[in-house]
Structures are given as C-alpha cells and as structure tokens.
C-alpha cells in the first residue's frame, strides 16, 4: 500500500515541524532581521531611519574603542579557556581512572555546579574576595595585612568568576571522552615497552583530545558572550564585548548600533566554531552536551 509508505515519509516531518517552526521564527528570521536592522540609522530624535547605511558598521569596525574591547574579550575568553583546560583535564582524568568507592559521589559533584545558579556562583566570590570577605578576614586575622585588600573589580576577578562558572563544562566533556577510551590500548602500549608517561602522551591524551576540544569550545564561546560576570565582578574598565551590546540595546536604545555590534560578536565566534567544525566536527559537541 503506497499510502502507508507516504505516511511513513511524512511522519518525521510532522513530528519535527513544531520545533523547526519555532527555530525558524524565533531564531533564523530574527537573525536575518538584525542584519537588516544593522544598516538602519538612529536619528537624533530617537526614531529609526530605514535604509541602507553603512554608518553603524563603519563606527563598529573603525572605532578603536570597539576593537580594543573585542580584543580584550577574546583575550579574557582565551585565558579562561586555558585555565579551565589546565585545571579541568587532570581532574577529569582522576575521576575517570580512580577506583574509589566514592566514584558515584565524585561524578555527582561534577554535575552539581550546573544546578547551582550562575548569578549565585558569581556573587559568591564577593563573599570571598570582598573587603570584608573571607580571604581578608583570614589575612587580617593572621596579621599578614593591616588594611583589607581590594581584590575585586578587576580583570583577574572577572577571569576567576568565569573559570569557576565554566570549569564543569570542560571536566565533564573530558571525562566522557576518557571513559570512552578502550583501556586495553593503554596496557598494550605498556606491554610494548612504553612507560606510563609515554602511554599517556601517545595513547590517552590524543584519544581524549576531542572531548577537551569540545569542552574548550563551549568554554570559549560562553566566556566571550558573557556580560553578567564583568558587571558583578569587574570594575568600570573591565567591560566585555557583550556589555557593549547590552548598553547599546538596553541603556542607549540604539538598536541599529546594537545590531551591528551583536553581528560582529556572532561573526567572530562563528569563525571559531567553523574552525572547530572543520577539524573536529559537531558530533562531539552534541555528545558532550547530553
């Protein structure tokens, strides 16, 4: 019966249509729309002037103010990712290879930070680094300093907050790829004369690279797109690129400029994702996220 076959063919599309329709109307069309919007102008009266103007782009691309903040955003995201990788990889390796009875607990603890609110985890550092925070209380108590130190509201505290927020992404991704490696490969390498270090460097590390790369990508993209962490833990000079977008759209109501700025951010991050996709592929990312 041909009708059953036709129905079989239609069925997946019927099931997919609500989700696809949502993504098209709420993501793809709006994205096209900000492309259009970025060529409009904001007039002195505050109204939008429809047309094809390159002024926003000229301002966003040539003004050193935007360029500097874009570069410092990429630098902050890069340092954050590097720190997360250095701190996260050995931790994931330890959990994956440990034979303790508490392994389930260790795993649960890896997932737990995802459930603790981002804003709470960010502000928790004020309790530690603030003028009347835990660290200053200890330093004053031990007589190491006479006056409380101001350790907040600088680039280092922003990076610290970002690492704290993003570290679980890397640990979990690396962990998933580590437990997927056939343990026999490592023992084979050992029996063929590799020492433990060589076996790790020649076998385990390369095989877990996709997990590390997927975690690092997530980390980089999320760090580069944040504006909350700099607002909470940064000083007035620690604005990141997403802060400029927020200011343009919400504070100044300059939507055309905000559009151009958000497209700039999107383009830069798209290049990062495309490079990743070229060398590693999207499948790994989906695996790590679920």
């Amino acid at each position: 019966m041909a009708s059953i076959e036709a129905r079989e063919k239609r069925q997946p599309w019927i099931l997919l249509s609500p989700a696809l329709l949502t993504i098209v109307t709420l993501l793809l069309v709006p994205l096209l729309f900000i492309v259009v919007y970025s060529f409009w102008l904001r007039t002195a009266s505050g109204a939008d002037q429809i047309g094809f103007h390159l002024d926003n782009w000229q301002e966003a691309l040539s003004d050193p103010f935007y360029r500097d903040i874009l570069l410092s955003t990429l630098r902050i995201a890069g340092i954050t990712t590097l720190l997360c990788a250095v701190l996260g990889y050995p931790t994931a390796y330890f959990v994956a290879r440990s034979r303790t009875r508490h392994k389930t607990l260790l795993l649960l603890l890896l997932v737990l930070p995802f459930w603790v609110s981002y804003i709470i985890r960010t502000l928790s550092w004020i309790n530690i680094l603030g003028v009347s925070g835990a660290l200053n209380a200890v330093l004053l108590g031990l007589g190491i300093v006479q006056e409380p130190l101001q350790m907040l509201y600088n680039e280092a505290s922003v990076i610290l907050g970002l690492v704290h927020f993003l570290l679980p992404f890397i640990v979990l991704n690396v962990y998933v790829s580590l437990i997927g490696i056939d343990r026999h490969l490592e023992s084979a390498a050992r029996s063929l004369g590799c020492n433990q270090r060589q076996a790790f460097l020649e076998i385990t590390l390369p095989l877990s690279m996709p997990g590390l790369a997927a975690g690092s990508l997530l980390c980089f993209v999320l760090a580069a797109g944040t504006y909350i962490t700099p607002l909470v833990l940064g000083g007035p000079r620690d604005a990141m690129f997403a802060n400029l977008v927020f200011d343009a759209i919400i504070t100044q109501l300059d939507w055309p400029l905000g559009s151009a700025l958000s497209l700039m951010l999107l383009a830069v991050l798209a290049v990062v994702v495309a490079v990743y996709n070229r060398f590693i592929g999207m499948g790994q990312l989906a695996r790590g996220l679920s």
Binding site: L16, Y37, Y118, A137, T226, V232, S262
Partner: protein, 262 residues
C-alpha cells in the same frame, strides 16, 4: 609524592575551588550580624524570615516558577516530538536538521536575545511576559532534545510495533505505549528545561518587561547596592531548590525504574 597522589591533590583542590564559595554563601546566610560578611557573630534565621516578608522577592519567585513551568511544558512538548523524529525515522537531510535543532545553543545568548527582541519590536509587539516565555523556549529546547534523544536511542521500538500489529492506531499507540515508556526521558527533559529557565539571567535581562523580575534578575538588582545577608539567604534557598529538586527527581526516577524491573 607519586604521580597519582599529586593528581588526587589536584582534584581535591579543584573540587574545593568549585564548592567552597557556594558553601560560604550558605554559611553566611545564617549569620546573625547586620552585614553579610565576616566575622560571623552568631547563628540566626532572621534573613530567611526577612525574605519571606519581602514582597518583591516573593513576587520574583512566583514569576520564576510560572515562567519555568510554562517554558518546560512548551519546550518539552516540542522537543520530545522532534526527538522522536530524529531517533525513530530515517529521512533525507537528517544531519542538517540535527545541527539546526541545536543551533540556538551555538548562537551566543546575547545575540539570540538581541535578535528576538528587535524582531518583536519590529512587528510592533512590546516587551511582554509571552516574549519572555518564547525566549526561554528557544534556548531550552535544544537541551531537551539532546537529553531526550540520548534516552530514546537506548529504547527499542519493538513494543510499539507489536501494538500497531495488534490493531492499535498510531495515535492510540503513542498515548498507550510510547508516552508511558518515554516517561523518565520526558521528566528528565522537563526538569532540565525548568532549571535552565529558572536560572537564566543573560536573556531575561533583555526580554523582561519593565517591573517584572525573576529571581536571578531580582538578585542582580539587589547586588547593585552591595552584598547583603538577605542575598546570601536567597542564594541558599535557590541552591536548595535547584540542587534539591533534581536530586529528588533522580531518586524518584530510580525508584520507578527499579520498581519496573522487579
């Protein structure tokens, strides 16, 4: 020190780094002192009591619950249907569809927020609560799809085929066989969507109508002054909710699972 001992020390320090700050929030929320800081002067529940009487915070909780529930409901419905299509059927262009379905995660949330906000403004729609829901749906749905897809993939379709061959219609089969079997997957997806929505601030600050606050945006607004013991208490309540609820959910799911196997 051996390599493994070093590794263990590293892991312990990383775990401390992840949990100590959150632990300090909880400890300070019981601080009796006027200021939310060290040294602690005694234990007290006064800040939790203050929360209970703070109308703005209670309103924010109600808003967040409503938003999270509606978001979970919509994005789980859409996500489960899409996951069924992705796991159960083969069709042309599947790879591209799969990328499209997780596209909202690949776009930075700030850009997504700007795009949706400007699009609705261009249509002449003001910022409203439904806009907030739509925004939350679009970025929670990919996570629901990833979770549900992973669970579905490990489930065979033999039972459904049996029901169909015994004369049940596809709709009957869906409601009588597929849906109950999917229960844990749907529950996990919905819980995930709820917690992501409940916790969101990046998109919410763009989309929220004037005067509407969710718990995270309320906390953010309160931070403008300085950190207060009340914020720490609110943080503790949030932690209990967002950590306690999923743990409870997992326990329930495990119990249901083991009940089925016996």
């Amino acid at each position: 020190m051996s390599g493994w001992a070093l590794l263990r020390l590293h892991a312990i320090l990383v775990y401390l780094f992840m949990f100590l700050p959150v632990g300090i929030v909880v400890v300070l929320s019981f601080n009796a002192s006027q200021f939310g800081s060290f040294p602690m002067t005694g234990l007290s529940l006064r800040w939790f009591e203050a929360l209970w009487h703070n109308e703005a915070i209670m309103r924010a909780f109600r808003t967040s619950f409503l938003l999270g529930t509606l978001t979970a409901l919509i994005s789980t419905t859409l996500g489960v249907l899409a996951s069924l299509a992705m796991v159960r059927y083969r069709f042309p262009g599947k790879q591209a569809i799969s990328t499209l379905l997780i596209a909202p995660i690949l776009v930075p949330e700030v850009v997504l927020a700007v795009a949706l906000l400007l699009f609705l403004r261009a249509l002449g729609l003001p910022k409203t609560f439904p806009l907030l829901i739509l925004g939350h749906v679009i970025f929670t749905m990919p996570f629901v799809i990833l979770v549900v897809q992973a669970r579905l993939a490990s489930m065979t379709s033999h039972v459904e085929e049996a029901a169909l061959s015994l004369g049940a219609s596809p709709v009957q089969t869906f409601f009588a066989v597929t849906l109950p079997l999917l229960g844990p997957a749907i529950f996990a997806g919905a819980l995930f969507a709820f917690t992501i929505s409940f916790d969101d601030i990046t998109g919410t600050l763009f989309w929220k109508p004037g005067g509407v606050e969710t718990v995270p945006t309320q906390i953010f607004a309160m931070l403008r002054n300085s950190i207060s013991p009340e914020i720490n208490a609110l943080g503790t309540v949030m932690i209990v909710l967002t950590v306690g609820l999923p743990l409870l959910g997992m326990a329930v799911a495990r119990r249901v699972d083991s009940g089925r196997h016996h």
